[in-house]
């Protein structure tokens, strides 16, 4: 297919349809509303379903219900809306339903602002809702990558029977970029007959499926959690995704950065190179599972003095990097979180400052 120029939010909606997801529930919120506005027009054209819920709380459970029936379903929202969905996300993870969530992040906490931010890193990666659960979290750095991740998210959600979160900053939703939709549409929906509640008509055996999250028997609940844990371990073994930049030479620092911020970092790295300062970047494409090994390997290079987390928040990824580098180098942070995106110049300056202090 030829390239088309599309706004990120609209491309995300289109990608979901092409991934075979014809069910969409959502609630308006800036900077994400264009997904719903696009799909309000587009879903009827392809025989799909869109319903605007009365709140994100309700949307969360609409998703749960639809997914429990074994149907592909997804939603898009932005930070405060994801907070309201977090209760349902915990239930959906507990019941192992493959729902795809897209968070086009804005500044927080509270109402915060409507400009780009990455302040929901911890919410997505560490929890958000209650209980021991993990989301598979993907962070696109371009409209093209957002489209590809949406396509893959449905496959991964079904592979693991686990909710997947696509964590894009506001710019990913609002920016227009050329995008090429994958030729091959996502895999056929997986066989859900073993768990989905599809009604009497389609039931294959006398076995009744039950979608539930309540386990009053402590041993049973413990087993359930161990089973979930195994699943998360498998994700850690099989689904880590990242890309690297300028890792060949003798770099002095490793930047870890994702989403829009990582694109600024690339330019900053090029600028520093011109001044003779070598810095590399590991860009996590999955935030959970985290590219722990890649980051540790990168800082093991003799020339490397530090790791710097560069993100549009107050340093939420720092502890994951610390865990990865296990003390080999110090871990610093640079970023902004009012909605402004640090410029390449500011970023390069911050890196230089840290390096100078090291020497």
């Amino acid at each position: 297919m030829a390239k088309v120029l599309m706004k990120g939010n609209e491309a995300i909606g289109e990608a979901a349809i092409r991934a075979g997801c014809l069910n969409y529930f959502a609630y308006p919120i800036t900077p994400q509303s264009e997904v719903a506005e696009y799909l309000a027009k587009r879903m009827p054209e392809v025989g799909g379903m869109f319903l605007q819920g009365e709140s994100e709380v309700a949307v969360g459970y609409m998703l749960f219900g639809a997914s429990a029936c074994g149907e592909r379903v997804f939603t898009t929202s932005s930070s405060p809306g994801i907070s309201l969905m977090s209760e349902a996300i915990s239930y959906i993870a507990a019941a192992q339903c493959p729902v795809v969530f897209v968070n086009i992040m804005r500044g927080g906490p509270g109402l915060g602002g409507i400009l780009p931010s990455q302040a929901d890193y911890s919410q997505s990666v560490k929890g958000g809702g209650h209980g021991d659960y993990k989301l598979l979290v993907m962070a696109p750095a371009s409209v093209q990558e957002a489209v590809e991740m949406v396509t893959e998210a449905f496959v991964l959600a079904e592979k693991y029977r686990n909710p997947v979160m696509i964590l894009g900053d506001g710019l990913i939703g609002q920016m227009m970029e050329p995008v090429e939709f994958p030729e091959k549409v996502a895999a056929k929906p997986s066989d859900k007959s073993e768990w989905a509640t599809t009604g009497m008509d389609t039931r294959k055996s006398d076995k009744r499926n039950l979608v539930k999250t309540l386990f009053l028997d402590p041993e049973e609940l413990n087993r359930h959690n161990l089973m979930l844990k195994e699943k998360y371990k498998k994700m850690e073994a099989e689904e880590v995704r990242y890309s690297t930049y300028n890792t060949d030479g003798d770099y002095k620092a490793v930047i870890a950065s994702y989403g829009t911020m990582s694109r600024v970092c690339k330019t900053a790295i090029d600028m520093l190179k011109k001044e003779g300062i070598e810095v590399c970047m590991i860009r996590p494409q999955t935030l959970f599972p985290f590219p722990e090994v890649a980051i540790r390997k990168a800082v093991e290079k003799k020339s490397c003095k530090l790791a710097i987390s560069i993100e549009m928040n107050m340093g939420q990824m720092v502890e994951d990097i610390q865990r990865s580098v296990s003390g080999i180098v110090p871990v610093k942070w640079y970023g902004k979180c009012g909605g402004e995106i640090p410029t390449p110049e500011e970023t390069a300056e911050a890196v230089k400052k840290y390096l100078n202090n090291e020497e």
């Binding site: 800036t30 509303s33 506005e37 309000a40």
Partner: protein, 211 residues
């Protein structure tokens, strides 16, 4: 030339798009927050200022329960039949066949039901004391709306009841109309459905009965 209008003393020069001096609750939760304020500081005059998306959609639960407990604050409910701030999406108050960005083919009542009449709905509860629907489409309506809002605050100051004043208004930007056309559309379309008037005035009735 003399001044015809003066800014009320209650308005400060604070630069904010919310009313100055207010607190700002999460989307839909103002009545719960107002409850918290009023319960710990009954001496304060407390009001919530909420849109139709806010109050009739995400905040439906909070407004019903606050009204039903008879919280002694005042709710001003600005109904413009659309989500304005977020760019014109469908609200629970959007009219049948009305086009919005999330109902591009017009509100399909077979799919999402008829618009919610909040004043009528709250009036079905026994506790809330004063409920009136007003509008600000023309000066003749504005005079009435002002009286209603004043009454609501007087009831609050007299610690009488929960008051709810719905204000039917326009949203030219998101309706895609000129301000003039939007006033006409609101009069022709909104007012026949959202009928103006007092739905409940328990303090007044009680006063009458006492006489």
């Amino acid at each position: 030339m003399g001044k015809t209008f003066l800014k009320p003393n209650s308005l400060s020069d604070n630069h904010t798009h919310y009313c100055p001096g207010c607190k700002e609750a999460a989307h839909g939760r103002a009545p719960a927050m107002a409850t918290g304020i009023k319960r710990v500081r009954p001496d304060l005059n407390v009001f919530t200022y909420q849109g139709d998306g806010d109050l009739a959609s995400i905040g439906m639960s909070e407004i019903i329960h606050s009204a039903n407990r008879g919280e002694k604050f005042t709710t001003i409910f600005v109904n413009n039949a659309v989500y304005g701030m977020t760019g014109g999406q469908m609200a629970p108050t959007t009219m049948p066949n009305q086009k919005t960005t999330t109902s591009p083919f017009g509100r399909d009542v077979k799919d999402v039901g008829m618009p919610i009449k909040m004043a009528n709905l709250l009036a079905a509860l026994q506790t809330p004391g004063y409920i009136e629907r007003t509008t600000v489409l023309k000066p003749k309506y504005i005079v009435k709306a002002k009286k209603a809002i004043k009454k609501a605050f007087i009831y609050q100051m007299e610690k009488k009841c929960f008051s709810f004043v719905e204000v039917v208004s326009t949203c030219p930007t998101n309706w895609g109309m000129t301000p003039q056309d939007s006033i006409k559309w609101a009069e022709d379309t909104l007012l026949p459905y959202y009928e103006l008037g007092v739905f409940k005035d328990t303090p007044k009735m009680e006063e009458k009965n006492a006489k």
